[in-house]
């Protein structure tokens, strides 16, 4: 009876451990496949992916990065839009930051050609994406820096209640709530 009990327990442990081993082995193989795809994108290759909707978020992020580097902004945004269902904070930060970079890069390009009306909504979207990234990780310095770039590009003109250094409020209703500005700095 005691032996039968021990054997039963051993069969149970064997079954569970075999299942765990198999599952983990599968996980390792999947990770290796995903890493291979990420490496391909990093090398400038565009591997064929059957169904992008089933791709891992890391693959979609790598794909978006590749597409942005090739100035295929709409395709990059489409790739990032597929990651909206993923909620892992680490990936969300990367997603928001890279999304902000896509918008900001386009906005800077538009601003350089003086297409101000086209640049403004892009800057606003970039700022929103950086703020979302910083809301999740307030220590993300690259997002802070690029948000400052975006905010210099499109300053926010609301009154800041910071004491006597503020100008008196303008009674006239402004036509724009924000105006584009391109500070070129000191001579």
């Amino acid at each position: 009876m005691r032996t039968a009990y021990k054997r039963g327990l051993a069969y149970l442990v064997l079954g569970i451990s075999a299942s765990v081993w198999g599952w983990q082995a599968l996980d390792i193989m999947r990770n290796a496949e995903t890493n291979a795809l990420i490496n391909d994108y990093a090398k400038g290759l565009e591997p064929a992916i059957g169904n992008l909707r089933q791709a891992k978020p890391e693959v979609l992020l790598a794909r978006a990065l590749f597409l942005k580097q090739h100035k295929r902004y709409d395709d990059a945004l489409a790739a990032l839009s597929l990651t909206s269902g993923f909620t892992e904070p680490r990936l969300q930060v990367l997603l928001r930051y890279n999304l902000g970079n896509i918008y900001l890069e386009q906005a800077v390009a538009k601003a350089e050609t003086m297409s101000i009306n086209d640049a403004m909504p892009l800057v606003a979207l970039a700022k929103q994406a950086y703020r979302q990234a910083l809301s999740i990780d307030s220590h993300y310095w690259d997002a802070k820096y690029n948000l400052e770039v975006a905010m210099r590009l499109l300053p926010e003109m609301d009154k800041i209640n910071s004491g006597d250094d503020e100008n008196p409020p303008n009674k006239k209703a402004p036509l724009w709530t924000t105006v584009p500005g391109f500070p070129r700095g000191l001579p």
Binding site: A10, Q24, V108, E156
Partner: protein
């Protein structure tokens, strides 16, 4: 009637003032912040027992103004003895302002409402000023692609460390449980077998012709160890049933017990040398069976 109304108003005012409390605002350093930093404030409100904090009067997490966001607010109540209660309010603000130079900003004050029965009082949590610094120089920095901005975040490769650890643990558990089952069903009997006759034989080789007692004791001891209990001549049949591999030595073992009986309880006609030689031969044969050679 007018007098009653005035009296009632006076009572209400007196009651409102009777809710006593003390507010302390604990703040971090007021300098050295940049865009996107978080600021943690702690408000400690000490009141009499029975005075309740109206949590609806606390600021709501979200955008407070263009540049200030309240990320989190947690209020805890704790009794501190002496008939007093302390409310601890933890606030986490985040600043989204891009100054051109070091700039002083102020987190606005707010009022909290304390209630005791029908009475209530407001307590002001003061404003707090701090300075914010820019991250960029005033002049626009350019690189070959235009205005300088930080590059995209590279996608980290997936780590399989945890999966490898789990797989190794699972593999070890498989080995353990599988090994136990194989052992339990006798598949590992050959590996589990103890070597009994080989050391006995090696010791027999070192005995002299006069150390017959030790010689018999060695062989009896080895047989007892195999059998698991003292083995007598009458139990040989049972021994062969349990250890069928020794069946081929049936005659030799029977002769060994006869010899042992004659040596200890009768008269042996054999010389000491012959007895030791027989013991050595028997032990050697047993050792070969034990090792699976015979």
């Amino acid at each position: 009637m007018r007098a009653w109304v005035i009296l009632l108003l006076c009572c209400l005012t007196a009651c409102s003032d009777s809710v006593t409390s003390q507010v302390r605002l604990l703040t971090p350093r007021p300098f050295g912040y940049v865009l996107g930093d978080t600021l943690r404030h702690q408000v400690l409100i000490t009141t009499d027992n029975g005075v309740k904090l109206d949590k609806n009067s606390l600021p709501k997490p979200g955008q407070l103004n263009r540049w200030l966001q309240l990320n989190a607010l947690n209020a805890h109540e704790e009794s501190i003895g002496g008939g007093h209660t302390r409310y601890r309010i933890d606030l986490t603000y985040q600043v989204f302002y891009a100054p051109l130079e070091v700039k002083m900003l102020t987190i606005p004050a707010f009022n909290v409402v304390l209630q005791q029965g029908q009475h209530h009082a407001e307590q002001a949590v003061p404003a707090w000023s701090f300075t914010l610094s820019p991250l960029r120089e005033l002049a626009v920095r350019k690189d070959e692609t235009g205005e300088y901005m930080r590059p995209d975040a590279l996608v980290p490769l997936l780590s399989s460390d945890a999966a490898w650890t789990n797989a190794l643990i699972a593999f070890f558990m498989m080995l353990l449980s599988g090994g136990y089952l194989m052992s339990s069903y006798g598949y590992l009997a050959r590996f589990n077998q103890k070597r009994v006759f080989k050391p006995a034989y090696q010791r027999l080789l070192r005995l002299t012709d006069k150390q017959l007692d030790e010689g018999f004791a060695l062989v009896h001891g080895a047989l007892n160890q195999i059998y698991g209990q003292p083995l007598f001549q009458a139990q040989l049949a049972e021994f062969f049933y349990q250890h069928a591999e020794y069946q081929k030595l049936k005659t030799d073992l029977a002769e060994f017990f006869d010899l042992s009986n004659r040596y200890f309880f009768g008269t042996s006609t054999l010389t000491g040398h012959e007895v030791v030689t027989r013991l050595q031969q028997l032990c050697l044969q047993c050792a070969r069976i034990e090792q699976g050679e015979a």
